[in-house]
Each structure stands twice: as C-alpha cells, then as structure tokens.
C-alpha cells in the first residue's frame, strides 16, 4: 500500500478541491456572513496548500524501491520502534480474508444472521492465519455463542437473528 509522495500529493490535492467545491454548494446561513461551508472550506483549502509541498517533494525525489521509506507507526513512535516482524508465509492470506470477509459480512448479516455468519467468519480468519480447521470450528462456535449470549442477554443488545430461524434464532 506504500505510495510515493507525488501520488499522495495528487490525491490530497483532488480531495481538497472536492471538499472546497462541496462546501461552496452548501446553503448560506440567513443574515450571517459565515455559514456551514466555512469550516470545510478552511479544511479543503489547507489540504490543497499542503498537497503542494508533497507534490514538489515527490516529483523532485529520486525513485526509491518500495518499502524502503521510513514511516511512523503511531504518534510519537519513531520509525520501527513498534515494528513487527515479517509475515508468516502460511498466513499471507490473513489480511485478504479479514477484509474480504468483512466486506461480505456487511450485506449478509441481516440475511444469514449473527451466529452462523460469525462462526463462518471466525473459522475463515483462524484458518487464514494458520490455525487448524477442527480447532477453528470449535473455537469459532464457542466464542460466537459466548459473545452472542453476553451481548443479547447481558447487555441487552439484540444481534441480528437472520432469516435462518432454526440456527440463527
């Protein structure tokens, strides 16, 4: 996902222009000089202004191999201070499964229901991260039922039962 400063600068510039344009289309406040568009305009204009040095830096900088630029992990954390070791080859599918699974989870939750869908998702994630299938199924079922019970009965948050009443309800 690492991108050069020139590309980032261009994205920020486009986003800033879009925000300023969006803010300009907002209706003014009757009888006032300021309105709902003022603050987004300041934000968008600042993004445009900051995109320029990024663009300039990106265009000026020599091309570097991907992954060689340092970057902070969190506020105040010098680069690599909280670095994690390289990914295990057996679990290189973990991130695609996490994201793809969540993308599928969103439209299916109300249809399939929390229990069934979550067991499937947890099993998929554990498998993708290198866990065994029997263990994943056992753990997935247990943790899903425990969380469902805790939230539904303990905290009063009804989780979607889905259209599969025998299993989901």
């Amino acid at each position: 996902m690492k991108t050069g400063d020139a590309v980032i600068g261009a994205i920020v510039l486009a986003a800033g222009v879009a925000i300023v344009a969006g803010a300009a289309s907002l209706p003014p406040m009757i009888g006032q000089i300021v309105g709902p568009g003022l603050f987004p305009t300041v934000i968008g204009a600042s993004m445009v202004a900051l995109s320029l040095p990024l663009l300039a830096r990106g265009l000026r900088a020599p091309r570097t191999a991907p992954g060689t630029e340092p970057g902070p992990d969190a506020i105040g954390t010098p680069p690599d201070a909280a670095a994690v070791p390289g990914r295990d080859r057996n679990s290189r599918w973990a991130v695609p499964v996490i994201l793809g699974g969540l993308a599928l989870y969103l439209p299916l939750l109300d249809i399939v229901g929390f229990r069934v869908l979550t067991v499937l998702y947890v099993v998929a994630v554990i498998r993708a991260a290198g866990g065994s299938l029997p263990g994943a199924m056992l753990f997935g079922t247990a943790i899903t039922l425990a969380v469902d019970y805790g939230f539904t009965r303990g905290l009063g948050v009804p989780l979607p039962p889905g259209a599969l009443p025998l299993v989901g309800g």
Binding site: P27, I33, I75, A81, I126, G140
Partner: protein, 510 residues
C-alpha cells in the same frame, strides 16, 4: 467534603470495583501481547462502557490503560518486542538485563516506577486542574477556539515523522467530523445522499477501525517465539527494586516531572515522554557508557515518565475538553456520551463524579503492583495464546462493538472503512492519533469558530480581540510560521545563487 464522601461511595460500590478489576485484567492481557497497544485495548472497551454508569465507564478506561501501558513492559523485557509503543524506548535495555539474568529486577523496576510516575501525574492533575478550571471559567468561544487549535497544532507538530503528513492526518480527522448535520443550521454536509451518513460518522466505530482493525491487519500472521527466555524469569520481581529506585531517585523524580509536562501537552503521549526521558537519563547519568548493556537507570526514569504522562494527559482533557493523547481523546468521547461534558463546569456542577474518577486513578495505579506481579507470573501463558484465535476474537469484538453503537450494520461498515484508511495512512507514514483527535475536536473547533465569527461579524482579526485569545492565537500562529520561516531561510542560504553572492562578497572583503 460531602462531594469527596459521595465520590468514595460511588467508587466503593461492588459494580465499580468489579469493573476496575476486570478492566485491569483486560488491559494487562492486551498490553502484554506484543503488537497490541493500550489504545487498542481502550477502543475495544468503549462499546462495553455504553452500558455502564458514568463513573464505572471512566474507571474502566483509566484502569485498563494504566495496566496496559505497564504490562507492555513485559514482552519488551522477555522477548524484546515492546507490548505497547510506550515501552519501546527502553525495550533493548530491559531485554539486555534479562539476558544478564536480571529480568526480575527489570520487570520489578518497570512496575514500581510506573506506579510512582502514575501517582505523581495524578497529584499534579489533582492540584493543577482546579486552578486551571477557575481560569477556564472566564473563557469564551474565542479562547476555546484558539486553545483547541493550539492543542491540535501541538498534536500535529509533535507527532514523530513528517510534519506535513501529521497536519494532513489532523485535517482528515477534522473533515470526517464535518460529515453529517452542520451544528448550527442542520444542513446535511458530504452525506452523498445517505440517510445514515446524515447522522455523522460515529466516533466509536471509527476509533475501533482505526486502532483495532488496522492493527490486526498490520500484525496478522506475524509469529513470535514465546518460549526460550520467557521461561527464565521465575523469581520475585520486587527483590532489589527498592535499592535501585533509591540509587536513581533523582531520575525517578525527573522522569515523573518530564512525563507530566509532556503528557499535559495535547497530542504528546507516554511514548514520546519515554523516549525523551530515556535520552535525558543517559545524558545526565554518571555512567552513560553502561546504557545499552542492561543498566537499570534508564528504566527507572523512562518507566516513571510514560505513566506520569498518562495521568497528566487528563489535565487538558478534563479542564478544557482537549485531549492530551489518543486515549484521552477516546475518554472525552465517553465523557460526552455519559453526560459528564469535560470543561470547567465539571468541577462545579457534579464534583463528586470528578473526585470519583480521581479516586479511580489512585486505585488503578496502586493495583499495578499486585497485577503487575500477576502478569509477570502469568507471562508465559499469555504469550502462548494462539495468535490466530486471538486475532479472530479481537475482530469479533470489533464487529460487535461497532454494531452496538446504533444496532445497525452501518457501524461495522464505518469500522471497516476507517480500518482500511488507517492502514493505508500508516503504511505511507501518516500518524493515526491526529486523525482521531481531529474527529473528537472538530465539532468543538467549528462551533466556537462560527460563534466567534458571528460575534465579530466575519472580522477575522476579531478572533484576537480578547487578551487571552490573542496570546493563544499568536502562540498558535508562531508555531506554524516559525518553522516555515526557518525552512525558508535555510533554503535561501543553500540556494546556489545566494551561496555564490556570499562567496563573492567575501572575496571582495578579502
């Protein structure tokens, strides 16, 4: 006095005590797992606090964070992998001590110096916050606007790495805060016609996505060896700690002081405090050559520093509603949700709530001693929790926590989008904490800006019309302009044409 007694009664209820103990255990567990941060622990805890009264809700956050930061020292010491970024500064030193057979001492010193630093920060909070609150009562929208902008400026400029990217992170957060209804007129902004977006981007799923999902993505499939050296630490971690703290008491006090000052600055958290204190410890040490070889001195100072910063970050959070770090940004969100709006009125309207939260600070810091001991004893077991199962469990809590905010799947979508955004930002060197600070502070800044501009009838110079506002405004502008001016001067000095001119003058002079 009545308020203090009421506060003690509130904290003394079985529910609050149980919440403190369970949150401490949760923080201890998450903090001790390499790669999982205290901020992530707090983010995951917030959905559960919806269902609590205000005092236990805040107690949960205070206890969990303090414990997670302390527990973060354990994997650093035993595996050379910092449990949280706040432990990174002295991980090598602590690990070197473990290799020398002094692992127990390293952990004991970390626990005790964290406790002392945390209590020091609390004392500063208890004494300075009411004084500042008296001043804050005189503040109008002008002062609040500049104070918030100054806070965010510090957050963006103090963050490590690229300043431009730090400020951009902040702007992204501020933009996210503008999505939904405008606070004054109720106009829908940037909602793309979505009814759900008209309600704004909820801070809880956004925060869970940015701090928990992105972190899971970052660390997914990264194994670590739990065996080996972890098994060597079996003795009493508190043996010899008193002597070490006595020998380096000046460092202990200095670390606590530095951490308190840094923690009170908006945007600067325990991680920055620990790095600075470790560097100062080496600078002022009589034996700087021993640093890096497994020397306890730096641990004493930096360990006190990161926990005192944690307590001190609550000073601007409680007095002005301006977060000191990412954790207090989350806590401010919880305070608002619970009707304990941060600000000077918190000290006058319901002081018993405030005193109750302070009591929790003391309890949480004292609990670090027995719980820290427990964590050291249980370290091997914690490290051996299977990573895939742990990851799936955290993801499950991310989903349920994001869902619970409005009981809609839209929250899970926000969490996913924000997680991917944070992952992409981090991969490109953008810090994440300013984004969350921007989301939390956006409405405060916008409301005070618009109110002030309406009073001045659109005159920007009117924002400087009150004395304190003028001082804060000038300070903010100075932080922005001085580095730019210095950069310009440096660029001018290095410019070939200027360089030639100077050489020519010198030649003529000669």
């Amino acid at each position: 006095m009545d308020a203090v007694l009421q506060a003690l009664q509130m904290v003394g209820t079985p529910t609050t005590i149980a919440v403190i103990l369970l949150s401490s255990l949760f923080g201890l567990f998450v903090g001790a797992i390499p790669g999982l941060t205290a901020t992530m622990a707090t983010a995951l805890l917030v959905p559960v606090t919806f269902f609590m009264d205000p005092v236990p809700a805040i107690a949960a956050i205070v206890a969990c964070t303090a414990m997670a930061i302390t527990a973060g020292d354990i994997p650093g010491c035993l595996l050379r992998i910092p449990g949280t970024p706040a432990s990174a500064a002295y991980t090598d030193e602590a690990y070197a001590m473990t290799r020398k057979g002094q692992g127990e001492l390293a952990l004991g010193v970390s626990i005790m110096s964290s406790t002392i630093g945390g209590l020091f920060g609390f004392v500063v909070l208890a004494f300075t916050a009411p004084l500042l609150a008296d001043v804050a009562l005189q503040f109008s929208s002008f002062e609040y606007f500049w104070l918030a902008v100054l806070g965010l400026t510090s957050a963006a400029f103090i963050s490590a790495g690229d300043r431009i990217k730090g400020v951009l992170s902040l702007l992204i957060g501020l933009f996210i805060a503008t999505v939904g209804m405008d606070p004054l007129t109720g106009s829908a902004r940037f909602t793309l016609g979505s009814e759900e977006l008209a309600g704004g981007i909820s801070f809880v799923p956004a925060m869970i996505g940015m701090f928990a999902l992105s972190e899971i993505m970052r660390t997914a499939g990264t194994p670590f060896d739990a065996g080996g050296i972890a098994g060597r630490v079996t003795g009493n971690p508190f043996r010899g700690v008193g002597a070490a703290l006595g020998t380096y008491k000046a460092g202990l006090v200095r670390g606590s002081l530095v951490g308190t000052v840094i923690g009170a600055l908006p945007g600067a958290g325990g991680d920055i405090a620990a790095w600075i204190s470790y560097a100062m410890s080496r600078r002022f040490s009589r034996t700087p050559e021993r640093f890096g070889t497994g020397h306890v001195e730096g641990l004493v100072e930096a360990g006190a520093s990161n926990n005192s910063a944690l307590s001190a970050a609550w000073v601007p959070a409680m007095v002005f509603g301006i977060p000191g770090d990412a954790v207090t940004a989350i806590a401010i969100g919880v305070l608002y949700m619970k009707g304990m709006n941060p600000g000077p009125t918190l000290f006058t309207a319901n002081p018993q709530n405030l005193y109750a939260v302070w009591t929790v600070f003391v309890i949480a810091n004292l609990l670090m001693i027995p719980f820290g001991w427990l964590a050291v004893r249980a370290a091997r077991g914690i490290f051996q929790v299977p990573r895939p199962h742990l990851m799936a469990t955290i993801l499950l809590f991310c989903i349920v926590g994001s869902f619970a905010i409005n009981n809609t799947v839209f929250g899970v979508g926000i969490m996913l989008a924000m997680g991917v955004l944070a992952y992409a930002l981090e991969a490109n060197g953008f810090p994440i904490a300013p984004v969350i600070l921007g989301i939390v502070m956006g409405p405060l800044i916008e409301t005070n800006l618009l109110t002030s501009m309406m009073i001045t009838q659109g005159d920007v110079l009117g924002l400087f019309s009150r004395p304190i506002a003028a001082v804060l405004g000038v300070a903010t502008l100075a932080i922005w302009t001085i580095p730019l001016a210095l950069m310009g001067m440096r660029a001018l000095r290095n410019h070939p044409a200027v360089g030639r001119g100077r050489t020519g003058n010198r030649t003529r002079d000669a």
